[in-house]
């Protein structure tokens, strides 16, 4: 009755069930064929990148956001979701209408492609913090672009 095999039968499956939500993604991403990203989002990201003045110190500024979140395997959708939410928090610039529209298009367009659970949304709500750092924005846009390329590469391989 108390054979060692019982540990494996009754111990491991619950462990798997507990860990499964941690490993799995809460978001499902659409547009993996790349058409939306290449024809709309990438154009806005490139325009925003060209509008932001490049500062040599930008790359050295490692925000906590990037320490916490990264475009890891099976976490691409989550990262994009959080990045898009971060973009949405960015304040509008008064002197550039195009900048604001491009920013909105990237964030809103990314969110429209993602189908995330309410759990993920709650996590993002907690991290709301107004940012006015163009350097952070530039890095964030680059990370978003890199993550999209990773998703499309993975979709091509499959």
């Amino acid at each position: 009755m108390f054979h060692v095999s019982f540990r494996y039968i009754f111990g491991i499956p619950p462990l798997i069930l507990v860990l499964l939500p941690v490993a799995s993604s809460d978001c499902d991403i659409g547009g993996k064929d790349g058409r939306v990203y290449q024809n709309v989002l990438m154009i806005s990201i490139d325009d925003l990148d060209s509008m932001i003045d490049f500062d040599s110190n930008c790359l050295n500024n490692e925000s906590n956001f990037f320490k916490k979140h990264s475009c890891g395997d099976n976490k691409e959708a989550s990262f994009l979701y959080r990045a898009a939410r971060k973009l949405k928090q960015f304040p509008k610039m008064n002197n550039s209408e195009d900048f604001n529209f491009h920013l909105s298009r990237v964030s809103q367009g990314t969110l429209q492609l993602l189908n995330c659970s309410s759990k993920e949304e709650n996590k993002s709500v907690k991290e709301q913090k107004k940012l006015n750092d163009l350097c952070f924005l530039k890095i964030l846009l680059q990370k978003i672009k890199t993550c999209w390329n990773k998703i499309l590469r993975g979709a091509k391989e499959h």
Binding site: N39, V40, E97, D98, N100, F101, S104, R105, Q108, G109
Partner: protein
């Protein structure tokens, strides 16, 4: 009762008719005839003014009273939920940068804030490109073709950059006979041979989105361009100078070929492939043939032996002259000739050898040859190869006169008077020393003996 029933029937009938005309429908599908009048269609134009986009809608039925009708778009917009259209005559349009360009939007016709009809549309799927412009046609004489070029504003746009263009052209005389060509670039080549010469043509261009994301409708036609094709009276007419040169060249080549064929054997081949001269034939040609019936041959088989006789002395000259005046002896009998020949053959010839000299031959009878005495016999021609040997010898040695040029049958003919007579009659010494070196005569009696010295003498 009857009247009551009829009245009720009429009332119900009227109610139904009235309710149908009012547009009320329970199913909500708005399939009423009045709702059908509000059918509309829209098209979008992206980046029509900088980064501003244009969305245009219009009713399909031009007779619709659009006085109080409005259009509204909701969804797939940036930072807003809905946007209202502007009205311009019978057209409704909206010019904005707030299109998300991702996902579907809903466009509704509103009458006093009440949605009459709505349609779900995707802005990126109803794109109508701007019409091309600046159509030009340039004729290239060297290539015999027409280069058609045109311009489009989409080359400088960020979203709808890739288009499919359609070029249509026709001869102006022929109505509705348009030729269509599809291309993705803004340059087209039309071959001259596909067009009528000296004709007026009309050409125009339109475009449609050709990406995997943006779709839509054909643009408006570009303004037409008119051009005239050049005259070509004869297809492939050549330049007169070139034609003359080509004709002359042809005739020259033909003349050269004919001359080559005619003069090949006689002139050309000997120069190109000269034949090596044959030394024997050349020699024969150089030397004169001495007389008729004289066989000259270098065939070793026909070489005749040189008769060498030993002699002791030479008789006086006078006797020889006397012989010359006498007529030539008659032809000796064949038997005696044969015997003479037989007697002369063989290495072990007896000591007394007959010696043939021209003088003795003239004066004496040939029968004396048999006896071994000096006699004039009918002698054949001696071969020239033995001549050096024949000339050798002194008084005691064998000596043979070599200056014999007698052929078969010459015994009957008279020798020419200037016959050189310088040698005397030789006598044979039976005791002559040494062995005579006598070789045999040729097989034919009629063959003349000819030596090389005779050749030189005759020359």
């Amino acid at each position: 009762m009857t009247i009551l029933g009829t009245a009720l029937g009429l009332v119900f009938y009227l109610l139904q008719v009235v309710s149908g005309e009012s547009g009320y429908a329970e199913n909500g599908d708005f399939d009423d005839a009045e709702l059908d009048d509000y059918s509309f269609s829209c098209y979008s134009q992206l980046e029509v003014n900088g980064s501003q986009h244009l969305l245009t809608c219009a009713f399909d039925d031009p007779d619709v009273n659009s006085t109080n009708l409005e259009f509204e778009i909701c969804g797939a917009l940036l930072d807003v939920n809905c946007l209202s259209f502007n009205k311009l005559q019978e057209m409704y349009f909206i010019k904005t940068k707030k299109f998300l360009l991702i996902g579907d939007s809903e466009i509704c016709v509103k009458l006093e804030r009440k949605s009459m009809t709505c349609r779900k549309m995707n802005i990126v799927k109803i794109v109508k490109p701007e019409a091309p412009f600046d159509v030009r046609v340039i004729y290239r004489e060297a290539a015999n073709d027409f280069v058609v070029t045109f311009n489009t504003s989409h080359l400088r746009k960020k979203y709808v950059k890739e288009l499919m263009h359609e070029v249509a052209y026709r001869q102006e005389k022929k109505e509705n006979n348009w030729m269509h060509v599809n291309l993705s670039s803004t340059k087209l080549m039309l071959l001259q041979r596909n067009l009528q010469p000296d004709a007026m043509y009309e050409i125009k261009v339109r475009s449609i989105p050709d990406t995997n994301y943006f779709e839509g409708f054909w643009s408006e036609w570009s303004p037409s361009f008119h051009f005239r094709t050049p005259e070509t009276s004869i297809r492939g007419q050549m330049d007169p100078v070139a034609l003359t040169i080509s004709i002359l060249s042809f005739f020259s080549v033909a003349l050269v070929v004919i001359l080559a064929c005619v003069l090949w054997k006689k002139r050309i081949k000997p120069m190109v492939w000269p034949s090596l001269p044959d030394h024997k034939k050349t020699l024969e040609q150089l030397c004169k043939k001495p007389k008729k019936n004289l066989n000259v041959s270098f065939n070793p088989e026909s070489f005749l032996d040189c008769q060498i006789h030993k002699v002791d002395g030479i008789q006086a000259r006078d006797e020889a002259e006397g012989f010359l005046q006498d007529p030539l002896p008659s032809q000796p009998e064949e038997s005696e000739k044969r015997r003479l020949r037989e007697g002369m053959q063989g290495p072990n010839w007896p000591s007394e050898h007959p010696v043939f000299t021209p003088k003795t031959f003239i004066g004496e009878s040939p029968f004396r040859c048999l006896a071994g005495n000096i006699s004039v016999c009918d002698a054949p021609v001696l071969p020239s190869s033995r001549s050096p040997d024949c000339r050798e010898g002194g008084k005691n040695g064998p000596l043979v006169h070599q200056d014999l040029l007698l052929g078969p049958g010459t015994t009957n003919s008279t020798l020419p008077s200037p016959f050189p007579f310088q040698s005397g009659i030789l006598t044979l010494n039976p005791a002559a020393q040494g062995q005579p070196t006598l070789t045999s005569l040729g097989s034919s009696q009629e063959e003349a003996y000819v030596t090389m010295s005779s050749f030189y003498q005759n020359q």
